[in-house]
Amino acid sequence: MWSREVDGRVLTFHLAGINNQNFLMRDDQTGTFWQQISGRAVSGPLRNKQLLLVHSDELTFAQWRGEQPSGMVLAPVKTYVAEYEPRDWEKRIGKARTVISFPSTKIPGREVMLGIQAGGAARAFSLKRVLDEKLVQDRVGSTPVLLVVGPDNTSVRAFVNRAPSGKPTDFYRQKDGTLLDSETGTTWTFAGCPVAAIGTACLPPVDMLKDYWFDWRNYHPDTTVYLAKH
């Protein structure tokens, strides 16, 4: 998710090409090409400009609806609704051939990873692994992070591990998806906010990208991998 304001001008994007299976967008206003994964202008008058990331989450509809009862949902576009992807389309894409690979990493190219850039480093977490562990307490560069699986056992969010004192602490995930911190015993919701602790700030969210390993690794050559065997 990107802001589409660049130097005070609002741009409108469309899909206009592909670069090693990550798509290229083009803006109607200047004809500049932008890389989807990085938000960077790769060719054209705005070359090397960078779109600003807007924080977003990937959640189940039920989880989102519970948190945002008055939120609005993108309506299907009538002309194209018959062509929308079937529910299992990601399984199909998961089998498609990749054009680049990193065999030395031993990770399949289509492995779904949660990628985080923080604290001057990049780190990838296998989605499967995170869903198994339900709570991952780790570090990305200098930033202590928490990856938490929601009460639906499907949605995942990432936060900076920061107890009310400002220091990282040990968190525990309870069966209902809430967290408990060992410093104060405060309960935290899956949205990262304290339950009934007035004056305590929510945990700062960490931007996280769900991506195939080949694509993440291609754009983050120095990435480390959570629990990698080397």
């Binding site: 609002v10 039920a62 945002q68 194209y80």
Partner: protein, 158 residues
């Protein structure tokens, strides 16, 4: 005459190069090198102008060759000029833009009217009092949604 023939050949080659080179590089199941991709994107950006110029040259050259030629030469000359003009028109079309349909003016419904299954995934964004969800199944088709979150212009991509 000879010069006009050479010019026609060059112009036809030029239009075809500007039209086809990017498609050759930007194939979905082919790896793209950084330099060749950069070259292809420059070619795409200049193609409408370049192919227009080449097509004009082709027509001018054909007009010089035509009157003094026999029918068999005329056939080649006519076909060449036609090819250049067709390529010039086609360079305005991007196949990717025809295949994929971004959402330019999205409309939204309340969650209760959305008809999305409880365990379907959505891409969610919230700022101040505005909260938008983009069902992944819709995003997997449109890929790009140009939206406003309150007063903030955003683009959702998937």
């Amino acid at each position: 005459m000879k010069a006009a023939c050479r010019l026609l050949g060059l112009a036809v080659f030029g239009t075809l190069f500007f039209l086809l080179f990017p498609y050759w590089i930007i194939q979905p199941f082919r790896a793209q090198g950084a330099r060749e991709l950069a070259a292809a994107l420059v070619v795409i950006r200049w193609a409408p102008l370049a192919t227009g110029l080449f097509a004009a040259i082709a027509i001018a050259a054909a007009a010089i060759i035509w009157p003094a030629s026999r029918w068999n030469v005329r056939m080649f000359v006519g076909a060449g000029a036609l090819l250049a003009v067709a390529a010039a028109f086609l360079s305005h079309v991007n196949v990717f833009e025809k295949m994929f349909h971004p959402v330019g003016a999205p409309s939204f419904v309340a969650a209760s009217e959305a008809g999305v299954t409880a365990d379907d995934m959505v891409l969610a964004v919230a700022e101040n009092r505005n909260s938008h969800a983009y069902p992944i199944r819709e995003m997997g088709y449109h890929h790009v949604v140009n939206d406003w979150l309150g007063t903030v212009p955003i683009v959702a991509t998937y």
